[in-house]
């Protein structure tokens, strides 16, 4: 049911309108910029286009019958007895468990082989919430969206729960029989027909086990493949240094950063740490206003691009030329014939000058999806600028056994096609879905006699294998992993495997002939002979979440000279493949939280769309949401189009990770499968693509229009110079009197400050809030009606012209207004004001008139229109935070400043007869934020961080002219543009 039946905006008129706008004009979408009368109408209703009316198939007669019955029964519930409960204690209570008090355990989550350290909250033996580990170098207490959402994957009812043999339920012992038979045949041949395919492995234990496997079967081979393989980076290092090295950045020492299609603030190993370091050099306070400067050149708008002081939309293929030009200017290469003509000339010269003025304190970063030559050039440029061992260091690779993964996969497919592979063991990958389509992995795999798959889901690969073993989730098993700087974390389980899953280590141990060896013993054995010989050291490592002295130290490198490359563009229109910002490479397709999380730039949920720039859309003659067909080398996919301002012209970007067929009921058939047109020799940039519109329309569920605050002065941006001249530039409020007597706040008074200069738009706060507060997901149809339930949302604004706008993010939680419009209108007093300034929401009183949501100017109140919370699925009940009510249908909810955390700390402080210390209460959003953009605390305390933040001159509130007196205020976004480039 589409809610967006708006006419496609005429782009030329939009451009004209924006060009003649006086002053800054912020707009959130093309339709908003066009400001057509239909759109104004659309915006005025909080829930678009009759979303609150009944469209579904239930007839009126049935509806009335149901209503009559439920009305008759409704009155009786108050008189009924509470059901009798059982209370079941332990038989032998573990010493450290106090019922009602959570315990925290350190572990880590890996993505692409790189670990982020975590502290996981456990209630009575059930993990319920994931936080960052403050002692871990990749985290420093913060997390990303994947770590937050991984708790849902643990309890996902669609995970595979049994060993299956060609679709029939079987057992681990039956599997072992089959495995041993296959391995016996291999032993005679020294393993000539045995292949093991894993993802990138950084676990020292697993690497050691596979090495032992290769000793036992000398002719067997170990392949590694991930669809987002970092081959380009390794090849680039080889080009520059002759050896594969890991590059590590120190953004906390860089005053000027140039990102060449590098989204270092949202993805890549260590990005949480990099965001933290980068923001540390960017925060502006009175008395400390030195800011770093970020230049970004990228083909498609990213969160890093949104943070940039200067952003240039450049085609992906042109970045090689740009890199050569910059390298030549800085003397990093001898000569080059790369040229961009006069385009961008001024821009690049200013960048080069800025870099030269900051030798040793600047950084040039090449993006993960750029070809190896760009990486080599970035190394050379950093070398020429004297940045080595200052802002960038090189270490040994983090991966245990780095290989060129696409080559590794090609070799495997070749062997399979020749019939040389008799036994294939796939550990935790999904190559049948995400291998490049030209390799025809599924067909090749069908030639293998004995196929085993270990995975979390019975996915596309498991369907084609003889045996599928359910994998133990990282929260269920022992393992180890390395962080982006090499630091090892011992992963420990928070709960016994829910479904008797096996870990990778246990499977390899079975191949090595030890079928019942537990992961704990394997990992402990390994570390006994390495850094943790004693039990004390082992327990200390488990407690801290890090093994001491395992960070990789910088190594000396020799830069080779870089030969000129041909930089002419090979195709007229470029098709780029990028990991999806929320579903990644497809592994999280069944994770409802991530599917519903709006993607940072497009605000699309539950789908992937092909994005193009407005100019390209006009050129191709296609409209927003029109289905287009993309053909590469004879293979085609049809994808809906999404016009994304700020994208480079003649570039189409399609995200990977959608279009799955066996992800589970949540992820199946969402979006289109970009892997179908991806080929192994062009993993990131398709060689030639044909595009044509089909004239069909596919509606995308986008949240960009929802909860509009009607374009008032919401995002305030200034330059550093403006700030220095007039620190209060963001202020234009007049103190208004109020007829209401107001509240007196004698004790604590809670407030929050959000620093827009630090917010990168990563949405970790949204995921953390969803996890902490048991927020349900609603599905694509309901999102299209504006009913998504996120208590904190990220608004994305464009500013400026249609083709090259600036992009700003603004997180919006409940403002907890002192003069709350919502409190006055509730007929049953379900929302009150506490004497500490919180706007209270009492679910058991709410009868669902929704008047409060109507009255809220910020539109932060979310209503359970339907029974969104899943009260039936057993495994999800374990996931929920026991300290937060699970809301039923018909009840209003909203951000509570994590009142459960406030009360818990208050009770602790009161029982210890002391006041609450600043920083003791951390709401979920503030804890997850990598850049510490959200600060919470007591505004009655003159020394608290939040009082300091609110005292800054660039502090402002949203819609204060309505005299709501919000407790959540913002620090205006301050940019640091280069005076040479600012017009």
């Amino acid at each position: 049911m589409s809610s967006l039946k708006l006419p496609s905006p005429d782009l030329a008129s939009v451009r004209a309108r924006l060009a003649t706008a006086r002053g800054k004009q912020y707009w959130r979408s093309l339709e908003e910029a066009a400001a057509s009368p239909e759109f104004q109408q659309f915006l005025h209703r909080e829930f678009p286009n009759h979303a609150s009316e009944w469209y579904d198939d239930l007839s009126r007669r049935q509806f009335l019958k149901l209503m009559a019955a439920s009305f008759a029964l409704a009155g009786l519930s108050a008189c009924m007895k509470m059901p009798q409960e059982k209370i079941v204690p332990y038989v032998r209570q573990p010493e450290e468990i106090i019922p009602g008090k959570p315990l925290f355990f350190a572990t880590a989550m890996t993505l692409g082989g790189y670990a982020t350290g975590l502290l996981v909250e456990s209630h009575e033996g059930r993990p319920t919430k994931i936080e960052g580990n403050p002692r871990h170098p990749s985290s420093l207490g913060a997390t990303d969206i994947f770590a937050q959402a991984s708790i849902l994957t643990l309890y996902d009812p669609d995970r595979s729960q049994v060993v299956s043999n060609a679709g029939r339920i079987s057992t681990w012992s039956a599997f072992l029989e089959g495995l041993n038979a296959a391995l016996e045949a291999q032993t005679a041949k020294n393993g000539a027909g045995l292949r093991v395919l894993t993802e990138t492995v950084s676990s020292p234990t697993l690497a050691r086990q596979i090495a032992a496997l290769l000793e036992k079967f000398p002719r067997a081979k170990w392949h590694q493949y991930e669809p987002l393989a970092r081959d380009n980076i390794m090849e680039g290092a080889r080009l520059a240094f002759g050896q594969p090295v890991e590059t590590r950045y120190h953004f906390d020492k860089a005053d000027v950063v140039v990102a060449l299609d590098a989204d270092f603030l949202f993805s890549g190993p260590g990005w949480v740490r990099y965001a933290h370091d980068f923001a540390g050099k960017r925060r502006v306070r009175t008395g400390q206003s030195a800011m770093n400067r970020l230049y970004v050149m990228e083909p498609v708008a990213s969160t890093t691009g949104a943070m940039a002081d200067h952003r240039l939309a450049v085609r992906a293929g042109e970045i090689t030329a740009v890199a050569f030009i910059i390298a030549k200017e800085l003397g990093a290469v001898e000569e080059t014939d790369a040229t961009l003509g006069d385009r961008h000339d001024r821009w690049i010269r200013a960048v080069v000058r800025d870099l030269q003025n900051h030798r040793g304190a600047c950084l040039v970063v090449a993006g993960d999806h750029q070809p190896p030559i760009v990486h080599a050039l970035a190394h050379a440029i950093n070398h020429a600028l004297g940045n080595i061992n200052h802002t960038v260091v090189y270490t040994d690779p983090v991966a245990a056994h780095p290989v060129n993964e696409i080559e590794s996969l090609r070799e495997l497919v070749r062997d399979m096609n020749e019939g040389a592979v008799e036994t294939l063991v796939i550990i935790d990958g999904n190559p049948a879905y995400d291998a490049p389509s030209d390799l025809a992995f599924s067909e090749a795999m069908s030639k293998v006699g004995f196929r085993v798959h270990l995975g979390l889901y019975e996915d596309e690969t498991a369907q084609l294998c003889h045996w599928h073993i359910p994998e133990a989730h990282y929260l269920e098993t022992w393992s180890d992993a390395r962080a982006h700087d090499g630091t090892v974390t011992i992963q420990q389980p928070l709960i016994a495997p829910l479904y008797d899953g096996k870990s990778a280590q246990e499977l390899v141990a079975a191949i090595l002939g030890h079928p019942n060896q537990a992961s704990h013993d394997i990992v402990r054995e390994y570390w006994k002979t390495h850094a943790l010989p004693t039990d004390d050291l082992w327990h200390a490592a488990l407690y801290d979440g890090t093994v001491p002295n395992t960070a990789l130290s910088p190594k000396a490198i020799n830069l080779r000279s870089i030969q000129p490359h041909d930089t002419t563009l090979t195709t007229e229109v470029e098709l780029l493949f990028r990991p999806d910002p929320t579903v990644w490479d497809g592994r999280f397709a069944n994770n409802g939280w991530l599917q519903e999380l709006p993607k940072p730039l497009t605000r699309v949920t539950w789908d992937n769309a092909a994005t193009v720039s407005p100019h390209t859309a006009e050129k191709l003659g296609v409209a927003d949401e029109e289905v287009i067909e993309l053909r590469v080398n004879g293979r085609g996919v049809r994808a809906p189009l999404c016009i994304l301002p700020g994208q480079a012209d003649d570039t189409v970007v399609l995200a990977l990770g959608y279009g799955r067929t066996h992800a589970g009921p949540v992820g199946n058939h969402a979006g289109v499968n970009a892997y179908a047109i991806r080929s192994s020799d062009a993993m990131w940039l398709a060689p030639a693509v044909e595009i044509h519109g089909t004239g069909e329309r596919y509606s995308l569920a986008r949240t960009q229009h929802h909860q509009s605050m009607e374009g008032r002065d919401l995002v305030r941006v200034g330059t550093l110079d403006e700030f220095r001249k007039n620190p209060a530039f963001a202020h234009n409020e007049i103190d208004q009197p109020s007829l209401y007597p107001g509240f007196k706040y004698d004790g604590y008074a809670w407030g929050m400050s959000i620093d827009l200069t630090a917010c990168v738009g990563c949405s970790a706060c949204v995921m953390a809030c969803q996890s902490e507060n048991n927020i349900p997901i609603v599905g694509k149809d309901q999102v299209a009606r504006g009913r998504e339930m996120h208590w904190i949302r990220i608004d994305r604004y464009f500013q400026g012209g249609l083709d090259d706008p600036e992009i700003y993010f603004e997180p919006v939680p409940c403002m907890h207004c002192e003069n709350a419009p919502c409190e006055l209108v509730c007929p049953v007093s379900a929302t009150q004001h506490s004497d500490e300034g919180l706007n209270e929401m009492v679910y058991n009183r709410c009868i669902g008139t929704r008047y409060c949501s109507n009255n809220c100017p910020y539109k932060v109140r979310r209503f359970n229109f339907l029974q969104y919370s899943d009260l039936k699925t057993q495994s999800l009940k374990s996931m929920r935070n026991p300290n937060v009510t699970v809301r039923n249908r018909g009840v209003m909810e909203k951000c509570t400043y994590c009142v459960q955390r406030i009360q818990a700390v208050k009770i602790t402080a009161e029982t210890q007869d002391r006041k609450i210390r600043d920083g003791e209460i951390i709401p979920a959003c503030a804890q997850a934020c990598p850049t510490q953009a959200i600060v919470f605390g007591d505004i009655n305390d003159p020394n608290s961080r939040v009082t300091n933040a609110k005292g800054q001159p660039h502090n402002y509130g949203l819609l204060v002219e309505l005299n709501t007196r919000p407790r959540t205020t913002y620090l205006a976004r301050i940019r640091n543009p280069n005076p040479e480039l600012e017009t």
Partner: protein
Amino acid sequence: MAQIFHPRTNTISRVSLFGALFFLTGLAWVCGELSRSSYVTREGSPMEQPVPFSHKHHVRDDGIDCRYCHTSVETSAFAGIPPTETCMNCHSMIWSNAPMLEPVRASFQTGQSIQWTRVNYVPQFVYFNHSIHIHKGIGCTTCHGPVGDMPLTWQNATLQMRWCLSCHEQPEQFVRPRDQVFNVDWKPPLNQLDQGRHLLKEYNIKSLTDCYTCHR
């Protein structure tokens, strides 16, 4: 024209109108009383338990402190029901063959927990915290009644919100010195109101009627 209705219908209509009014009022009164009654609230009625545990025997006769079994009452929201091991601390040596204690021994041997029937509990949208009440000088017997004299355990108060508010609005009526919290024989002294007000200040008891104090 003949009358359609007999004169008796005047009486009938008046009686039925007033009667309906009284009937509905009466119905409302009955529902109100019912919802407060011990039938609905289970106040005062002992519950069927797998083992007929006697607080009177253990507290009054044996002098065991509440905290020996209800261990987390000072540190957590839940006071805690003792694990089987706590029972077996004594009952592995005394009454170790009593048939009444067979479920306890069986639980300890097989590792299956004893499924007690819950006596005192509030709905799930109420987040009651024991530790703060203990710390602020509310004794066990104030809410749970004369547990030390209960041969079988029953719920001593209705545990409805209006009952909680009767203290939350006037805590000086019920607060006792901290060292008396676990005293099962404590009775409010004659000067309870004065002493109570003094204790409110000393123990910093305030903001009790905010919704968020109990509901989250």
